[in-house]
Subunit: 223 residues, 2 copies
Amino acid sequence: AIRCENVHKTYIMGEVTVPVLKGVDLTINQGELTVILGASGAGKSTLLNIIGGIDRPTEGHVYCAGKDLAAMNDRQLTEHRRRNVGFVFQFYNLAPTLTALENVISAVEIADNPMDPLKALDMVGLADRKDHFPSQLSGGQQQRVSIARALAKNPLVMFCDEPTGALDAATGRMALSLLTSLNEKAGTTIVIVTHAEPIARLAHRILRLTMEGLTAEDNPNRG
Amino acid sequence: AIRCENVHKTYIMGEVTVPVLKGVDLTINQGELTVILGASGAGKSTLLNIIGGIDRPTEGHVYCAGKDLAAMNDRQLTEHRRRNVGFVFQFYNLAPTLTALENVISAVEIADNPMDPLKALDMVGLADRKDHFPSQLSGGQQQRVSIARALAKNPLVMFCDEPTGALDAATGRMALSLLTSLNEKAGTTIVIVTHAEPIARLAHRILRLTMEGLTAEDNPNRG
Ligand SMILES: Nc1ncnc2c1ncn2[C@@H]1O[C@H](COP(=O)(O)OP(=O)(O)OP(=O)(O)O)[C@@H](O)[C@H]1O
Ligand SMILES: Nc1ncnc2c1ncn2[C@@H]1O[C@H](COP(=O)(O)OP(=O)(O)OP(=O)(O)O)[C@@H](O)[C@H]1O
Ligand SMILES: [Mg+2]
Ligand SMILES: [Mg+2]
């Protein structure tokens, strides 16, 4: 479904160059749950933003359902994302001037087949927080609202950057089971970036990112 | 060193009241490492902000070295915090218009006995990122810079809200060992809020916060 060919990303800060991705090749298979593992600073968010169409590589190509994302202009990329992609960012996910429920509603406005926004909030255990603004929510509650926002879109592909970082063990398990059941029941393609090894057990395929590069392995414990 | 007596915190949103802390009594002992554990939404950040002097209780008292924080006006509270307290917030820790190094330098300007800012950055493994702005740092790197900022102040008391949430296992262990060694060598009083049980093993004392209230236990594995 998604393919990277020789993807490079180098940041340039004045005279300093910061090479982050150095020729990444990868495949995300349609309908699978893929986990990208790696240490802090390895380049996981950078890679996710590129395959999610939020950022562009310095070199190389990203193909989504056969289409080269580099060939799209910004307006087409934005349209592609709003229709087909659910994104849970590592930080700053929510519009600060909208309540929890309004944040979810705004995400489904353009979706083809959305879930009821209040139901999505209920699935993450926050129906009773629907009228709170982000500043009136705990860290883990904000993270859960951003998960609900992505789930409610019923997207073809979900990209999640550290979706359980702010959650305790029980709440984190609940969030992950929402994702795995979406993958199993709706066939949604899901990519989870995390530094937490236990989450990798849920994956069909595990991609490990280090300063040296990316290696892929199938998870023997999953079909 | 820090004592809470019958601390209540209730948020009021129009006609809705949200009681969060309902009569909390606790003691933070000078020179100890105390961990506050609890699920997402339990009230940990709320409690930490109150004992850290960043927020005021709706009812009850907070005594810091015998002084009632409620008796201080905002200017005195701010002065008390800038001099004596290091704070690692759950989010939004860094000034976005200052580089990593400038962020640490700005924190030590009023400190009595600060560490060299570059040394503090080096201790969290980010000397080579000193000229990056927060938006040019990964999630875990931003979290480590905010830890360096608090460490560099050499404060009497450190308050840390989920200091390892964005860090991989190895980097998280490094951050925690910086905190435990500060506690052991400098005698700094440290309060760590977390939802992660393994961190509690480092504590002299563990305070568990739930919707019902707070319970305290000494850690039998520590002196
Ligand atoms: N805009 C930028 N300019 C310069 N360097 C950057 C920029 N954004 C990120 N970096 C650097 O790129 C590297 C990878 O960043 P990235 O955010 O992808 O890491 P990550 O694997 O997501 O880490 P974490 O687990 O801490 O979130 C980091 O070393 C970071 O300092
Ligand atoms: N300004 C506010 N107005 C109304 N309710 C609030 C406000 N701030 C926090 N709350 C509510 O208070 C409760 C406790 O929030 P707090 O941030 O202290 O939780 P927490 O234990 O730190 O959670 P987490 O582990 O998710 O960070 C939450 O249910 C939250 O919705
Ligand atoms: Mg990241
Ligand atoms: Mg919190």
